[in-house]
C-alpha cells in the first residue's frame, strides 16, 4: 500500500496535472529523491541533522491527567518540541538537503499562516540557499510576526494579491514562479499535495514521526496503539504518523479535518468529508469545489488547516476505508486546546488541537483503557493572538504571538 504506482497514482488519486513545462523537473526530482533515499550517506546526514539541529526524535509522552479525564490512555507524539515548533522541520530539512544534492541554489515555498514559510526560511538559512516565500496578502497582515521571522532568517516574502489572497493562491503563485525558475530553483512544497512525486516525497521525509512513535510505543507499552489520530490540512503530519501503521490492521487511523464554523454551515475546510473528486494543484484528490469545478474558499480558525484540497494518499486511504476522516469544528478544537493546557501544561498549535479534539470525541466510544496515540504536530506560540481573541482573555496584550 505505501507507494504509489509508477506514474504517481494511489488508485485513482494523485498523478500529475501540471503544465508540460514542469514534467522534466518532476522527473528529475523523483529520480534524485529515489537515489537519495538509497544513499546511506544522504540518510545518515539527514538523520544527524534531525538529531543535532531538529531535536529529533521527538518524545512520546503519556498524558496521565488527560487520560484520567478521557477514560482512555492518551499518548502524545511531541512534535511541538521540534526546532521551529512543528513536524514541518522534518519535511524542510529533507527537501533542502535534496535541493543541495540536486545542485540547485534556491528554494521557493508557499505558506498560509507562515509555519511552513518559517521552516523553509530556517532550512534555507542553515544550508545557505536563497529563499522566496509566497504568502497571501491577507495572511501577511494576519501573521505579521511570522513574516518578520522569515525576513530575519533572510528569506524574501512575497505577498500574493491574486484570487482569494490565501494559501491556495500562494500555491498558485509558487507554481507559476517555479515554471520560470525551475533550472536553478526547487519548489519546497509544504504538505503531501501537489503533482507526483511531491506527495510521496514529503511523506517520506515526515514518516519518521510514525516510525519513531511505533517503536517508542512498543518499547513503553509492549503493544501497538488501538487508535492513531492526527489533524489533516494538506495532510503531512497525518501521513507522517500513519505510514508506519498502515500494515498494522489492528490499528485504526483517524484524520481530523477542520470543521470551521460547523460542518453544516458550509464554512469549513473538511475536504474529504464534504469535497468531491477533482484536480487541484497538480493532483487528483478531494476538492472543495462548486458545481462547475471552481474552487471554494475554505474556512477554519486554524490557518494551517485552511485549505480546500488534501493530499492524494489521504483521498486513497479514505476511499479504501483504511483511514477514517471526520470534521472537528473551531469550538471543539479550542476546547481541546484549553483542556490540554490545563491538564498537562502543554499549549499546542490550533491545528494539533483538532487532532486531539477528535481523539477525545472518539474516546467516548472506546473501551476503558484503550490506547490512543495523537500526533501533537506543533506548539501554540504562534496562535496566542487567536487564543486571546477567542477566549477573550482580559488584560492580555492585544496582539501577542510569541
Amino acid at each position: 500500500m505505501p507507494n504509489p504506482d509508477a506514474s504517481g497514482h494511489w488508485g485513482e488519486f494523485g498523478g500529475r496535472f501540471v503544465p508540460e513545462a514542469l514534467i522534466a523537473a518532476l522527473d528529475e526530482l523523483e529520480a534524485a529523491h529515489t537515489a537519495a533515499l538509497a544513499d546511506p550517506a544522504f540518510t545518515a546526514e539527514l538523520e544527524q541533522l534531525g538529531r543535532e539541529y531538529g531535536n529529533l526524535p521527538s518524545p512520546l509522552y503519556f498524558a496521565e491527567r488527560l487520560s484520567e479525564e478521557a477514560g482512555v490512555e492518551v499518548w502524545l507524539k511531541r512534535e511541538d518540541l521540534n526546532h521551529t515548533g512543528a513536524h514541518k522541520i522534518r519535511n524542510v530539512l529533507g527537501q533542502a538537503l535534496l535541493t543541495k544534492r540536486m545542485g540547485k541554489r534556491r528554494i521557493i515555498a508557499e505558506t498560509g499562516a507562515g509555519q511552513h514559510g518559517v521552516a523553509s526560511a530556517t532550512a534555507a538559512a542553515y544550508f545557505g540557499l536563497e529563499c522566496t516565500v509566497y504568502m497571501g496578502e491577507e495572511d501577511t497582515r494576519r501573521q505579521a510576526l511570522n513574516v518578520a521571522r522569515m525576513r530575519l532568517l533572510g528569506a524574501e516574502v512575497v505577498p500574493v494579491t491574486t484570487g482569494s489572497r490565501t494559501l491556495k493562491d500562494a500555491m498558485n503563485e509558487a507554481l507559476r514562479e517555479w515554471v520560470a525558475s525551475v533550472d536553478h530553483t526547487h519548489y519546497l512544497i509544504g504538505s503531501v499535495g501537489g503533482p507526483a512525486p511531491f506527495p510521496q516525497l514529503v511523506r517520506d521525509y515526515c514518516r519518521g514521526i510514525g516510525d519513531e512513535a511505533r517503536a517508542q510505543f512498543l518499547e513503553r507499552t509492549g503493544a501497538l496503539p488501538d487508535v492513531v489520530a492526527a489533524c489533516v490540512g494538506g495532510g503531512s503530519n497525518a501521513m507522517g504518523i500513519f505510514t508506519a501503521f498502515l500494515e498494522d490492521e489492528s490499528v485504526k487511523l483517524f484524520g481530523f479535518e477542520a470543521g470551521g464554523d460547523g460542518y453544516d454551515t458550509g464554512r469549513h475546510a473538511a475536504t474529504i468529508t464534504a469535497g468531491q473528486i477533482g484536480v487541484l494543484h497538480g493532483a487528483r484528490t478531494f476538492v472543495l469545489q462548486d458545481e462547475d469545478g471552481q474552487t471554494i474558499e475554505s474556512h477554519s480558525i486554524s490557518a494551517g488547516l485552511d485549505y480546500p484540497g488534501v493530499g492524494p494518499e489521504h483521498a486513497h486511504l479514505a476511499a479504501t476505508g483504511r483511514a477514517v476522516y471526520e470534521p472537528v469544528d473551531d469550538a471543539e478544537a479550542m476546547a481541546a486546546l484549553e483542556k490540554l493546557a490545563r491538564t498537562e501544561g502543554i499549549i499546542c498549535a490550533i491545528e494539533s488541537a483538532h487532532g486531539l479534539a477528535g481523539a477525545l470525541r472518539l474516546a467516548k466510544g472506546l473501551k476503558a483503557g484503550s490506547r490512543v496515540l495523537v500526533n501533537l504536530s506543533g506548539r501554540g506560540d504562534k496562535d496566542m493572538g487567536n487564543v486571546v481573541e477567542y477566549f477573550g482573555f482580559a488584560g492580555a496584550p492585544e496582539k501577542s504571538g510569541e
Binding site: A24, A180, V287, G293
Partner: protein, 262 residues
C-alpha cells in the same frame, strides 16, 4: 470545422495562422461573443476561448484578472457552449481549459456538448497525455481536436509521446513562464519548434508573449500559428470602457493579421 481547415487555408496562402485567445464571458458574456467576431472580421484564422477558472496556474496577471472578472460576473461552464455556438462556422473554435472544469462537467458530456455547439477541440494546459485517457477516448468519439503542449524543457522522448497524442496542431509553449505580453519574443522558441518538427507533420502553434504585428511576423517565419492571448485581454483591461476595448482589439488584430501576412 477543425483546426486542419484553418491550416489548409493558411498553408495555401504560404503564411502562418493567427490565433486569438479570449476568456469566454470577458469582458461580459455578450461582449466576448462580439470580441470573437471582431477578431475574425480583422483576420484571425482560429479562436481559442478560455474557460475562466479560479486557480489558473499557467496564467499571468492579465488573463488571471480577466478570468476573475468573468467569474465575478457569474460565468458558468455551460455558457462556453453558448459562446461557441454563437461564433462557430467561420473559423475553428477551440476551448483552452484547465482540466478540473472538464472533469467536473463530465469528460464525455463536455465533449458531446462542445461538439454539438460546433466546437473544434480542446487545448489542455494542465493535462498531459499520460493523464488523458478519458479525454482521448471522448475526443475520438466526438471527432474533436486534441491539442497538448510541448515546452522548452520537454525531453525528446516527451515531445515524441506528446505529438503522437495531438490532433489538429501542437502547442509550443515558447517561454518557461506564465502567459503575459512580453517586449521581446522568446529565443528558445525556434529551437523548440525545430525539435518538435522532427517528430511530427502536424502544424505547430507558438504561444505566450506575442503583442505586436512585428512579433507575429517574426514567429510566423518558423511557426505555423501565432497564438496571442494577454495582449488581446489587455485591450479591455487597459481601456476606459468596453467600446474602446473593442476598438483597440480591432486595431491589434489587424496589426497581427498584417504581421502573419508579411
Amino acid at each position: 470545422m477543425h483546426a486542419a481547415d484553418a491550416f489548409a487555408k493558411t498553408k495555401a496562402e504560404g503564411r502562418a495562422a493567427l490565433v486569438g485567445y479570449l476568456p469566454a464571458g470577458y469582458p461580459t458574456l455578450a461582449d466576448s461573443i462580439k470580441a470573437v467576431d471582431i477578431m475574425i472580421d480583422h483576420g484571425a484564422d482560429m479562436i481559442e476561448l478560455g474557460l475562466p477558472y479560479s486557480d489558473p496556474v499557467m496564467d499571468g496577471p492579465a488573463i488571471q484578472k480577466a478570468a476573475d472578472q468573468a467569474l465575478a460576473g457569474g460565468f458558468r461552464t455551460r455558457q462556453v457552449f453558448e459562446v461557441t455556438e454563437a461564433v462557430a462556422g467561420r473559423v475553428p473554435i477551440l476551448v483552452m481549459t484547465y482540466w478540473n472544469l472538464v472533469e467536473r462537467y463530465g469528460v464525455d458530456r463536455f465533449a458531446r456538448d462542445f461538439a454539438a455547439a460546433g466546437g473544434a477541440g480542446l487545448i489542455t494546459p494542465d493535462l498531459i497525455p499520460d493523464e488523458a485517457g478519458e479525454w482521448i477516448e471522448a475526443s475520438d468519439a466526438y471527432g474533436l481536436d486534441r491539442v497538448f503542449l510541448v515546452a522548452p524543457s520537454s525531453t525528446e522522448e516527451r515531445i515524441v509521446s506528446t505529438v503522437a497524442a495531438c490532433r489538429g496542431f501542437v502547442y509550443a509553449q515558447s517561454v518557461m513562464g506564465v502567459t503575459g505580453a512580453r517586449a521581446a519574443t522568446s529565443a528558445v522558441a525556434p529551437a523548440l519548434v525545430e525539435r518538435t518538427r522532427r517528430h511530427t507533420d502536424l502544424p505547430i502553434g507558438v504561444g505566450l508573449g506575442v503583442r505586436s504585428g512585428d512579433q507575429a511576423a517574426e514567429i510566423g517565419a518558423y511557426g505555423d500559428a501565432v497564438i496571442v492571448g494577454s495582449a488581446i485581454v489587455n485591450c479591455y483591461l487597459d481601456a476606459p470602457d468596453i467600446p474602446t476595448g473593442h476598438q483597440r482589439l480591432a486595431e491589434l488584430t489587424a496589426d497581427l493579421a498584417e504581421g502573419v501576412r508579411r
